[in-house]
């Protein structure tokens, strides 16, 4: 027996989400069928609000409900320092640390020669404009320590070098709680390069 149209449609919609297949989608639909109407309405409103209210910040590209975002409009934050990250969730990871008080710029991607994603496809030009316009003193590159992150960091450094702005990159090395024995050679090398006097 086939599912009714409403059930089949919702299963198909759930299947579009990352990591969700036919079985998981069916499980979610039957869970919602057992839920109270208010709870289901709350979920559907939350999803709609996501698209209606959430937008990207015109200054830093991060995800926000107010434009400019809370970080860009906060006078207590150091606006002359920009931390450049690849994706909005990287920004939240740094914010969770609670020790960084500067502003951000989200590239919304990274340079990937193997995928054909070049500097034009990510928003580097707007970063350069912001550095020029706002008289930025330091740009901290917090791209991922992988091939794509390295390509992005080198390209931004090459582009900003001529503007005379200080460009730094976050340290790469051993994660806290790991074992030196299992670390790869490049990680150990970076750890030695970034060693600090105690």
């Amino acid at each position: 027996m086939k599912y009714s149209d409403s059930i089949a449609k919702l299963i198909d919609e759930f299947k579009r989400l990352p990591g969700i297949g036919q079985k998981t989608a069916e499980r979610l639909v039957f869970f919602l069928l057992k839920e109270q109407k208010d709870a289901v309405r709350g979920l559907s409103e939350a999803i709609l609000n996501l698209k209606d209210k959430v937008q990207s910040c015109s200054k830093c590209n991060s995800i926000t409900e107010n434009d400019p975002c809370n970080v860009c409009s906060n006078p207590k934050r150091e606006q002359k320092i920009i931390c450049v990250v690849e994706e909005p969730h990287d920004l939240y990871a740094i914010e969770r640390m609670g020790e960084y008080h500067g502003s951000y710029y989200v590239l919304m991607g990274s340079i990937s020669p193997l995928e054909g994603v070049g500097p034009e496809e990510i928003q580097i030009n707007r970063l350069v404009e912001r550095v020029k316009k706002d008289g930025i003193q330091e740009v901290i590159l917090a791209t991922n320590p992988n091939m794509e992150g390295d390509a992005t960091a080198i390209f931004i450094y090459k582009t900003l070098k001529s503007l005379g702005v200080k460009v730094t990159r976050i340290a790469r090395g051993l994660p806290v709680g790991s074992n030196l024995e299992y670390a790869d050679e490049v990680t150990i090398l970076r750890s030695f390069e970034g060693r600090m006097e105690m």
Binding site: P113, L114, A151, F155, S178, E185, V186, L189
Partner: protein, 250 residues
């Protein structure tokens, strides 16, 4: 389940789950191999950053022979080629080499000579300033080692050695048409005899003498265009990473 042990150079990696990766590598003994690496994405993974493109590894993997996806059991770094990641031109050139190798190789098709060419090219790329010549050597030798070796010594029609100033290179047959046999409807691209001589050198020069070979101005663009068109004819598409190199002054 049998275990396989070989040397491998990482070509590409994709996220499979929150903690696992699929790593595609070109191996010395088994051609292109795809492996699942469980736990590789965890921050405290014992593999660390070993699955970045260009890294040369000793790997042990398991699975049934001639299947598409294997399980990686162990790996050690032979050469990380990390200097390539410090310079934008070298990094994008390394990506271009990787994409060419990925396009020319297949699963379970051993090509040891091509593996050595790839390793040697990455090794030289870390230090040479003559990157444009290295690119041309790598392109032409990969084509040759993959079974598409161009025939530069004799004309496709009259079989004589070309002596005229201009000749045509015919991409589909990978050979030349000499000046005597040329007419306005001859297929292919017109090149000078000088360019042909440089192309012959590219196929035979020793890697250790690479810094001694320089293409004259003007001819370098002709050679680049020709190798690009020949590559495109063979693999049926343009390499995504080539646009990164084409934009730069090498």
């Amino acid at each position: 389940m049998p275990l396989f042990k070989t040397e491998a150079i990482v070509l590409q990696r994709f996220n499979l789950t929150e903690s696992s990766l699929i790593v595609t590598s070109f191996t010395r003994d088994f051609g292109k191999v795809k492996c699942v690496v469980k736990g590789a994405r965890k921050i405290k993974s014992r593999y660390g950053g070993r699955f970045e493109p260009f890294t040369c590894l000793n790997i042990i993997y398991s699975g049934k022979e001639h299947q598409n996806l294997y399980i990686l059991n162990h790996c050690d770094t032979i050469r990380p080629f990390y200097n390539l990641r410090e310079d934008y031109i070298r990094l994008t050139t390394g990506c271009y080499f990787t994409e060419i190798i990925s396009s020319f190789t297949r699963e379970a098709e051993k090509n040891e000579e091509l593996f050595h060419l790839f390793f040697r090219a990455l090794d030289i790329l870390e230090s040479t300033d003559n990157i444009s010549v290295l690119i041309r050597i790598f392109e032409m030798r990969t084509i040759a080692l993959s079974g598409y070796s161009p025939k530069f010594d004799s004309c496709l029609i009259c079989k004589n050695e070309p002596k005229s100033k201009y000749i045509n290179f015919h991409f589909q047959s990978g050979g030349i048409i000499c000046g005597k046999c040329l007419n306005s409807s001859s297929p292919g691209r017109r090149i000078t005899l000088g360019t042909l001589n440089y192309l012959k050198k590219v196929l035979t020069i020793n890697f250790s003498s690479i810094d001694r070979l320089r293409f004259p101005k003007g001819q370098d663009k002709e050679i680049a265009l020709l190798t690009q068109m020949y590559l495109k004819t063979i693999i049926g598409r343009e390499c995504k990473s080539y646009k990164f190199i084409a934009k730069q002054e090498l």
